[in-house]
């Protein structure tokens, strides 16, 4: 009987020691807990950056499409005006049949001048918009090293955490 009690006490002592050791391991880490909190913080930051940036490529692609439209509009306006001026010349230079006479009656230097004035205003408006977009893009470009720096800091923090395993 005494032997049994002695063995039981020994086993109990060993187990308690093991338990204590494991408990210390789990509480030493409030360190582990703080590591988890740090990991969560990192995750939050990465999610925040990603959310902030993930729509940018779509927005830039939209800007590219708009820019294409502006360039096309400008060139169309110039080509159309060149055609009008050529027609105007044609109306002066040639002996015209009645149909050409009729077509020419719609085109005058005054009407072409009005068209040119309208186009000029349109060009100026588009130039303002494109300048604003260019400024925005340049600012965006300046932001890149800052964002890269922030990501690098996050990566370093993650590596340090990894090392504390």
């Amino acid at each position: 009987m005494k032997k049994i009690i002695l063995t039981a006490t020994l086993v109990a002592l060993t187990s308690t020691t093991t338990l204590c050791a494991i408990e210390t391991e789990t509480t030493k880490p409030s360190r582990s807990q703080s590591k988890q909190t740090k990991i969560e913080l990192l995750e939050l930051k990465i999610t925040k950056y990603t959310k902030h940036l993930e729509n940018l490529p779509i927005k830039i692609k939209e800007v590219l499409l708009e820019l294409g439209d502006y360039e096309e509009k400008g060139n169309d306006a110039e080509n159309m005006t060149r055609n009008l001026l050529q027609t105007l010349d044609g109306c002066v230079m040639n002996e015209l049949d009645s149909m050409a006479e009729d077509a020419c009656s719609d085109i005058t230097a005054t009407s072409v001048s009005k068209t040119i004035k309208d186009y000029k205003l349109e060009m100026k408006d588009m130039i303002k918009v494109v300048e604003a977009k260019l400024d925005e893009l340049k600012k965006q470009k300046k932001n890149t090293p800052i964002i890269e720096g922030a990501i690098k800091a996050l990566t370093d923090a993650r590596d340090i955490l990894k090392g504390t395993k």
Partner: protein, 143 residues
């Protein structure tokens, strides 16, 4: 007594195992999170690279568009300020205003607000002026 001791020992042993298991689960979770973080960071980095490339490209396109629009504007300004074109416009405007005045004069005559003599004298002068301007316009080959 022997049984009681054995039961106590079993409970103690189980507690130890459960605790150790919990600890392993915590490590596994942590590792999984680290892997996920690594993946997310990689994705974020490639997103930034993509944005940077797109931005560079967009800046170049915007600069080209700006240049093209400025060229268009320059073309319009050249045409508008070219002396011959400007003179054509002015002549056409004069002729147009004479035609308008002539219509007004006819309305006044019809409404008997002016005499036929006054109307004829006005239209004769107006026509002479119009013909003079028209011949100038023709010489300029505006139309």
């Amino acid at each position: 007594m022997k049984r009681k001791i054995l039961m106590a020992l079993t409970v103690l042993g189980c507690l130890t195992v459960v605790n150790a298991d919990n600890n392993t689960v915590d490590w596994e979770k942590e590792e999984a999170k680290e892997v996920m973080l690594e993946q997310k960071t990689k994705e974020l980095r490639s997103l930034v690279v993509e944005i940077d490339m797109l931005t560079t490209h967009a800046i170049r396109v915007a600069e080209e568009t700006l240049l093209s629009l400025n060229n268009n504007l320059e073309f319009f300004e050249k045409v508008e300020t070219s002396e011959s074109f400007r003179q054509c416009v002015v002549l056409e405007e004069y002729i147009g205003s004479i035609e308008k005045d002539r219509t007004i004069a006819l309305d006044l005559y019809r409404a008997k607000k002016v005499t036929s003599k006054q109307y004829e004298s006005y239209t004769t002068k107006a026509d002479e002026r119009k013909n003079r301007l028209q011949s100038k316009l023709d010489k300029k080959k505006c139309k």
